[in-house]
């Protein structure tokens, strides 16, 4: 017990606390971006996209090539890469994904196959070593004792902007309304005038857009390699279970919980404790409330 408290004491140090919070926010933001797309595909098309992380990987490589090979400034390269990947992925939507709409179980295994194809295609194309996207800024911001790296701050700002845009899109546009309706009852939505084939494409585009953005940001603060997608996918998966499969606010809440758990528990008790805690909590949650914190039970 004493040991427990003394470990928590670390968090009282202002330098540590400031970083813990910034880290918590940036981790959460990235997890949420990946998880949102994942949950959107599940909610609307009942597709468990086990290849979702690989779209993050593609986004990161697009960003990498645009900044490093074409020397585009990152403010242009980021949106261009992300939109480019999402647009190009529509080919995959047509070739692969549409076969799995409303077929949850088949989608899991079929898309796992796509996942392998994308990873090892990436290995053939890009080799396996890790690459670095030049940081937007090497500076750090000093607020008293708190040190915040500027490039983290930029990531946080971009991610939050993207999340806000997504929220506004879902809440206040016609396509957003159509998606929310389709997520609850595709068949009925179709009879009320929602063109589901079209909405599927839009949802797919948005989901991949978010994943590619998350991947680009991930690549920016960490590194880029064909295996980049594995960790974000794992995290998104847990986030989505935690928040409730298909629930958009659930993905946001789950991402925030997981990001801050990793940051706080990791700092106070170490990485293993943080991993065990995340998994343990999610297992217990599943036993008592399998539909997640903000999900709704299915009959």
């Amino acid at each position: 017990m004493l040991d427990f408290l003394s470990r928590l004491e670390i968090l009282l140090n202002p330098t540590v606390l400031g970083q813990v919070i910034v880290n918590g926010i940036s981790l959460s933001a990235i997890y949420i971006l990946v998880a949102l797309g994942f949950t959107l595909l599940f909610g609307i098309m009942r597709v468990v996209n086990f290849a979702h992380g690989e779209f993050a990987m593609l986004g990161a490589f697009a960003f990498y090539h645009l900044t490093k090979d074409l020397n585009w400034p990152w403010m242009i390269a980021l949106p261009a890469g992300v939109i480019g990947v999402a647009a190009a992925s529509l080919v995959l939507e047509w070739l692969v994904f549409r076969w799995f709409y409303q077929r949850m179980f088949e989608s899991m295994i079929g898309l796992l196959g796509l996942n392998m194809m994308l990873i090892y295609g990436g290995v053939l194309l890009w080799d396996t070593h890790e690459r670095n996207i030049p940081a937007a800024s090497q500076e750090v911001l000093m607020l008293g004792d708190i040190i915040i790296p500027i490039d983290r701050l930029i990531v946080v700002v971009i991610a939050l902007a993207a999340l806000t845009a997504f929220y506004l899109f879902i809440r206040h546009t016609r396509a957003g309304l159509a998606m929310r309706a389709a997520a609850q009852d595709v068949e009925t939505a179709e009879t009320q005038g929602v063109d589901t084939r079209h909405i599927y494409k839009v949802a797919f585009f948005v989901a991949i857009l978010l994943a590619a953005l998350a991947g680009s940001l991930w690549g920016q603060i960490y590194a880029v390699s064909p295996h980049l997608g594995e960790r974000p996918l794992m995290m998104a998966f847990i986030v989505v279970i935690l928040g409730g499969m298909g629930s958009i606010p659930g993905a946001a809440l789950g991402g925030a919980l997981l990001g801050f758990t990793e940051s706080i528990v990791g700092t106070a008790f170490g990485a293993a404790a943080s991993a065990f805690l995340s998994f343990g909590v999610v297992i217990v949650l599943l036993v008592f409330r399998p539909w997640g914190i903000l999900g709704t039970p299915e009959n």
Binding site: F100, F105, G110, L114, M116, M117, I283
Partner: protein
């Protein structure tokens, strides 16, 4: 198929399985034979769970319990292999009896999720518990069950015997009244329960038997590989067992067996193209799920139906993850 052809076929298959190792001295082929036999235990035991409508993604965790339980008994306590095998199998069964009543209350995708997470926790616990399990480096110099089994051909017969026992047990259970009750559970859990089937108890019994068999496979695998490491009990391994069932076809035990043979042979067939093996494998998974969701068994039935030009029966539903939405 008539009774007579069935019996002839069975006898023929048994003879082939017993005799073929003598037709070659390629130890590698014997090795593949061992792998197929051992994998068949895992695949068919998982099939048992799938037949109650649950797709478990932690079967490898039970293999791990069997493997570590057996190896530690033999290596740390110095007890003979049969004791180790029993301890390993028992450990897996005990774990199943402990978690079964909790996790089997969940159905469909929730069961998939919780078993996936549970499998990860077991793997992480093995990795972290270096003192007991050797951590990521595992345990090496694991002795064979008996020096005689250093010969791969001999091990094949050991594996064949255990596989015959496991597959036979699964087939017998599925064919019994108990198996019919399992079908009722899969088709409608609430309706079965209200018809007097003690659903949770039956599911737990199935889970314990299946996981004990998985533990048995783990033990046999560990003493065959002579090295034990957590990588061999990761989520991917559990998933592979599911994939075997899916590719073979989840509607019958044959599917699991066909899937096991297929999935053991496939990497060997692809070994020549090391750099694109995973891409091909991924494409096979995608194509099977998109165009042949009933697996090889179902596809074969289609072909047969087309040949005999009779309308084929509607495809049985997949496990409840997909159907009961």
């Amino acid at each position: 198929m008539t009774q007579a052809t069935k019996i002839t076929g069975g006898v023929l298959a048994a003879v082939v399985l017993v005799v073929w190792p003598w037709l070659t001295d390629d130890r590698f082929l014997h090795h593949v034979g061992v792998l197929i036999m051992l994998t068949a235990i895992g695949a068919s035991s998982l099939h048992l769970i799938i037949r109650t409508g649950h797709v478990s993604l932690c079967h490898a965790a039970f293999m791990a319990f069997g493997a570590y339980g057996s190896v530690l008994t033999v290596m740390s306590l110095g007890l003979p292999f049969p004791v180790g095998l029993l301890v390993g199998t028992g450990a897996a069964a005990l774990l199943a009896a402990t978690i079964g009543p909790i996790v089997l209350r969940l159905t469909g995708k929730y069961f998939v999720l919780i078993t996936f997470l549970f499998g990860e926790v077991v793997r992480m616990a093995i990795v972290e518990n270096v003192a007991l399990t050797g951590g990521s480096n595992g345990i090496f110099n694991v002795p064979p069950p008996h020096p005689i089994f250093l010969d791969t051909k001999a091990y094949y017969y050991l594996a064949l015997a255990f596989a015959a026992f496991a597959v036979g047990l699964c087939a017998r259970i599925l064919g019994s009244e108990f198996g019919r009750a399992m079908n009722a559970i899969r088709d409608g859990e609430r309706l079965a329960e209200c018809s007097g089937v003690p659903v949770i108890r039956f599911k737990v019994i199935v889970f314990i038997i299946a996981c004990a068999l998985a533990g048995m496979q783990g033990s046999l695998m560990a003493h065959y590989n002579k090295v034990l490491s957590p990588e061999n009990f990761s989520g991917i391994i559990s998933l592979n067992l599911v994939v075997m069932n899916v590719i073979g076809g989840m509607s019958s035990l044959w599917g699991a067996l066909i899937g096991a043979v297929f999935m053991v042979m496939l990497p060997e067939l692809l070994r020549g193209y090391v750099n694109i093996q995973h891409i091909i494998f991924g494409a096979i998974l995608f194509a099977t799920m998109a165009f042949m969701p009933g697996g090889i068994i179902q596809a074969a039935r289609h072909v047969k139906a087309m040949l005999s030009a009779k309308p084929d029966a509607p495809a049985p539903p997949l496990a409840r993850t997909g159907a009961a939405e």
